[in-house]
Assembly symmetry: C2
């Protein structure tokens, strides 16, 4: 199991968190997503090594910008 | 046709606007809903006189608080 941390900018509310959670949950191997608009912290748990580019693309798809924390 | 203005507090983004729009659109007689999280202004167009309590309840259902502007 791998846990990877990201910082997401632009989220303002719980709806924003939900958008990010939905997109990131679809990335291959992801088993759990924790995200907070208050801290901007996104924690992704995966079965194996996580495809960073896929996570960043998923957050972008949700309408926000992420970087590795 | 009647246009009624409300002030909504608590909306922070486009997702919030969408939540308000969805709930208020379901109120009887409503034909158009315009809402902005930037100004907090909610403008409801209806076929006849609008049921204020129903609009306030719809906004509450979306998770925000409205009052007549």
């Amino acid at each position: 199991m791998t846990t990877t941390e990201y910082t997401v900018t632009g989220m303002t509310c719980g709806h924003c968190e939900m958008s990010v959670r939905e997109e990131v949950s679809e990335v291959d191997g992801v088993t759990e997503v924790a995200v907070s608009h208050e801290t901007g912290r996104l924690t992704v748990t995966s079965e194996g090594p996580l495809d960073d580019a896929a996570v960043l693309a998923a957050v972008d798809e949700a309408g926000y910008t992420a970087s590795r924390a």
